[in-house]
């Protein structure tokens, strides 16, 4: 019986007491595309990590082609022909593409790598699948879509039969997604079994043969894709009572004065241009969404606006004050707060206590002696505002991601800002938290705050923003006002085109 077969899989994490998966059965046939869907936290990634050997299940069995296996490492899964391609594939910096691809399955004679054989193999495979990758390219210079292809190439080089793709489309523009799906169909035709994790339902339904739905670690069901439509799928994912409703058309708030004005922002890193002259305006009471794929300069713009990096030239004026190059302190003093995507890395210090983390803003301005009682009261107040229970003395790392996001937001809002910079606010949040967050953001705008929303999630941007700008290659490639579009599909296409540029073909 060919295929990968998971039965009765259970995964319990003792560190947080979370049962991530209960009694999951899942199978993958050769020559099929099997979609795995569910909201964030449903356990999709965990299941695939188990199948690819990154973690071990607490219970249950894995069989490949009829033989029961135990995967105690990715090496074991690879030997069984199963490989995982992550959303952001890890490549080794400083390696050439061919070195990165053959890593782990190097062609050798007596331990010595056969260089030309390796490079040729990479080039051949790349041609055969239409990747157009240069074996000698440096890994740092690859775009995410190319890294994904390199990861697939690496798996194909070691004759992986079963490819697991974890949310590959989240970091791709619509055109790149199309190309990826073409590739998947070709791979399927060649007999590979593919698992595709995605939260983009319409596209996924188009390519998948079967769909499995997980909800909160439990298996809801597996169906043939032909029998499903989007609504039924949504009801499987969220349950009949939680069906997502269509967003009512955006009503524009009263427009206030200019809050943020960026002119000619330009910067480079090691000679590579990241921003090439960005112009942006944002008024109070408005939500401006900024869309772009990861490498388009989105992150750089975000960090420069928040004061974490200094751009080479250009100006940033926030609420009447020029803050470019003057650091996060100037940003905050002008009335801005920043809710970053990288919560544990930027917005929090994992090893410091919650009390310390929540007190960071007033304390970085204060002088002299502290009153522990005052700080305590303040932390407690913030925790209450975020509806989080617990002891402020605990370290930040002992809380979950969703909780931390609420705490961070509460902490920032306690500063009474006039400008809020959000980056990927809904990332990692489940549907209910996401909807609540959306409502809050809209309320903040109604209250007259100016909001800059940077995100790679087009749905999030479209449902929240009054206007959207797109970044491509460090430049603003499109400006869209929400009110101009009644059809969100049309808007999505327009944004997608501006993000990637329809006249530029990535792979030829």
């Amino acid at each position: 019986m060919l295929g990968a077969d998971l039965r009765g899989i259970r995964k319990y994490f003792p560190e947080n007491g979370v049962e991530a998966l209960s009694e999951i059965s899942f199978d993958l046939h050769p020559g099929e595309i099997h979609a795995l869907v569910g909201e964030n936290g449903a356990g999709k990634s965990t299941l695939m990590h188990i199948l690819s050997g990154l973690i071990e299940p607490s219970a249950g069995t894995i069989s490949v082609d009829g033989v029961e296996r135990r995967f105690d490492s990715p090496a074991a899964a690879l030997r069984a022909g199963i490989g995982l391609v992550r959303q952001h594939p890890q490549t080794v910096p400083g390696f050439a593409l061919w070195e990165d691809c053959v890593l782990g399955s190097e062609p050798t004679r007596l331990g010595i790598i056969k260089r030309s054989a390796a490079r040729e193999a990479v080039r051949d495979l790349s041609c055969r699948w239409g990747f157009d990758l240069d074996p000698d390219a440096r890994t740092e210079s690859l775009a995410v879509s190319q890294k994904q292809k390199a990861a697939v190439l690496s798996l194909l080089m070691r004759d992986a039969k079963y490819l697991l793709l974890d949310e590959p489309t989240a970091v791709l523009a619509p055109l790149e997604t199309e190309r990826l799906f073409d590739l998947l169909l070709n791979l399927k035709a060649a007999g590979h079994g593919i698992v595709l994790i995605s939260h983009k339902l319409p596209e996924t339904l188009r390519v998948a043969d079967r769909v499995t739905v997980l909800r909160k670690g439990r298996l809801v069901g597996t169906r043939d894709a032909a029998e499903l439509d989007a609504d039924e799928l949504r009801s499987m994912m969220f349950g009949p009572a939680e069906n997502k409703k269509e967003e009512p058309p955006i009503t524009m708030n009263e427009e206030g004065e200019t809050a943020l004005s960026i002119r000619g922002l330009t910067t480079r890193l090691s000679g590579r241009p990241l921003l090439r002259g960005i112009d942006l305006d944002l008024r109070r009471g408005r939500i401006l969404g900024v869309a772009g794929v990861r490498e388009s300069g989105l992150e750089t713009l975000e960090f420069a606006t928040a004061g974490l990096i200094r751009a080479e030239s250009g100006s940033i004026e926030l609420l009447g004050k020029r803050i470019e190059g003057r650091g996060a302190k100037a940003f905050r003093e002008a009335g801005g707060v920043y809710v970053p995507a990288d919560r544990m890395g930027i917005a929090l210090a994992p090893r410091l206590s919650i009390n310390d983390n929540l007190s960071v803003h007033p304390l970085s301005r204060a002088h002299g002696f502290l009153s522990p009682a005052e700080l305590w009261t303040r932390s407690r107040a913030v925790m209450e505002a975020a509806r989080v229970a617990g002891d402020p003395k605990q370290t930040a790392s002992s809380f979950s991601g969703g909780t931390l996001q609420r705490l961070i937001l509460a902490r920032e809002l306690a500063e009474n800002p006039d400008f809020i910079l959000f980056s990927e606010p809904g990332w990692g949040l489940d549907a209910a938290s996401r909807m609540e967050l959306d409502r809050r953001i809209k309320r903040l705008a109604r209250a007259g705050k100016a909001i800059l929303l940077m995100s790679t999630d087009l749905d999030e941007l479209i449902s929240l923003s009054d206007s959207i700008v797109t970044l491509r290659d460090g430049l603003v490639s499109g400006r869209f006002a929400r009110t101009e579009f009644t059809d969100t599909e049309e808007l999505r296409e327009a944004i997608g085109a501006a993000m990637i540029g329809t006249e530029v073909c990535l792979d030829k």
């Binding site: 990154l54 490492s73 990715p74 090496a75 690879l78 030997r79 995982l84 992550r86 890890q90 490549t91 080794v92 910096p93 400083g94 390696f95 070195e99 990165d100 890593l103 782990g104 399955s105 190097e106 050798t108 331990g111 010595i112 790598i113 260089r115 690496s154 070691r158 090691s270």
Partner: protein, 272 residues
């Protein structure tokens, strides 16, 4: 003059290559000083007991490799801080060598015995040269070298492609320990005696040399030779009595510090 400079560079190169391996694996081992001391002592003792320098050196390398591997396993198993564990080894090596020296030979001082000869320049110079060549080759041309470099730069990538970064880290520590021990053995056999304090900070200078040599086997060798040349010059100055001997002991560290600073600055400038 040149053979003598090369010979005096040999211990530094061996330890430096060891340091290079640990640096490439992503967990710099600051234990080189300790293993050089340990190796110097074990080489002497084992040679005295067995009558053969080859046995002596092998014993030193083997014991060191075992300890080095065990330390890496300890770090992995307990989540300990690898710097502190390495520092612990430096301290333990000094203490243990002192203790065993007193217990077995009744003295903490220099150990001399006819069965432990001075071997002259050739054997260790040849060994060092072979080590450098072998390392350079392995690092750039073999599967092991590729995976080691991947371990230091992106262990997650290696893991996902079916490799085992922890094994390479442990192996790099074991090899580094063995090489440092051989460097210590070289010191013993240069004079045919074990001299406490004979290592004189070379283990730390070896770390600096890893960076001076731009993390490349030939660079490490070149930097070590340059150092040895500088030491030779200072030795000459010592002989002429212009600068007091005690002061000159501090010169290698001072020089290493200056060079370390300069290389760091240059590297930072280059990546701008």
């Amino acid at each position: 003059m040149i053979p003598s400079i090369l010979a005096s560079a040999a211990p530094l190169i061996l330890a430096g290559i060891g340091g290079l391996l640990t640096e490439l694996s992503g967990s710099l081992g600051v234990f080189l000083e300790g293993f050089m001391t340990l190796g110097s002592f074990i080489a002497w003792t084992a040679t005295k007991l067995s009558g053969s320098p080859i046995v002596g050196c092998s014993a030193a390398a083997l014991v060191a490799a075992l300890i080095g591997w065990f330390m890496a396993a300890f770090v992995k198993a307990t989540g300990a801080n690898s710097f502190i564990v390495a520092l612990a080894l430096n301290l333990a090596a000094n203490g243990a060598v002192d203790a065993v020296s007193v217990l077995a030979f009744g003295t903490k001082g220099v150990l001399v015995d006819p069965s432990v000869p001075a071997l002259g320049n050739a054997p260790f110079t040849v060994l060092t040269a072979l080590t450098v060549l072998a390392t350079a080759f392995v690092l750039s041309r073999t599967r092991v070298g590729l995976r080691l470099r991947a371990t230091g730069r992106c262990p997650q990538a290696l893991l996902e492609r079916g490799g085992n970064p922890d094994r390479y880290k442990a192996a790099s520590w074991a090899f580094a320990a063995a090489l440092a021990a051989l460097g210590g053995a070289a010191l013993t056999f240069r004079v045919g005696a074990y001299a406490p304090g004979g290592v004189a900070g070379r283990g730390w200078i070896a770390l600096v040399i890893v960076y001076l040599g731009f993390r490349n086997a030939f660079g490490v060798a070149a930097a070590a030779i340059a150092f040895a040349a500088a030491e030779y010059v200072s030795g000459v100055a010592q002989g002429t009595g212009t600068i007091p001997a005690t002061l000159l002991l501090g010169l290698p560290s001072a020089l290493a510090l200056i060079l370390f600073t300069v290389t760091t600055i240059l590297r930072a400038r280059r990546s701008k």
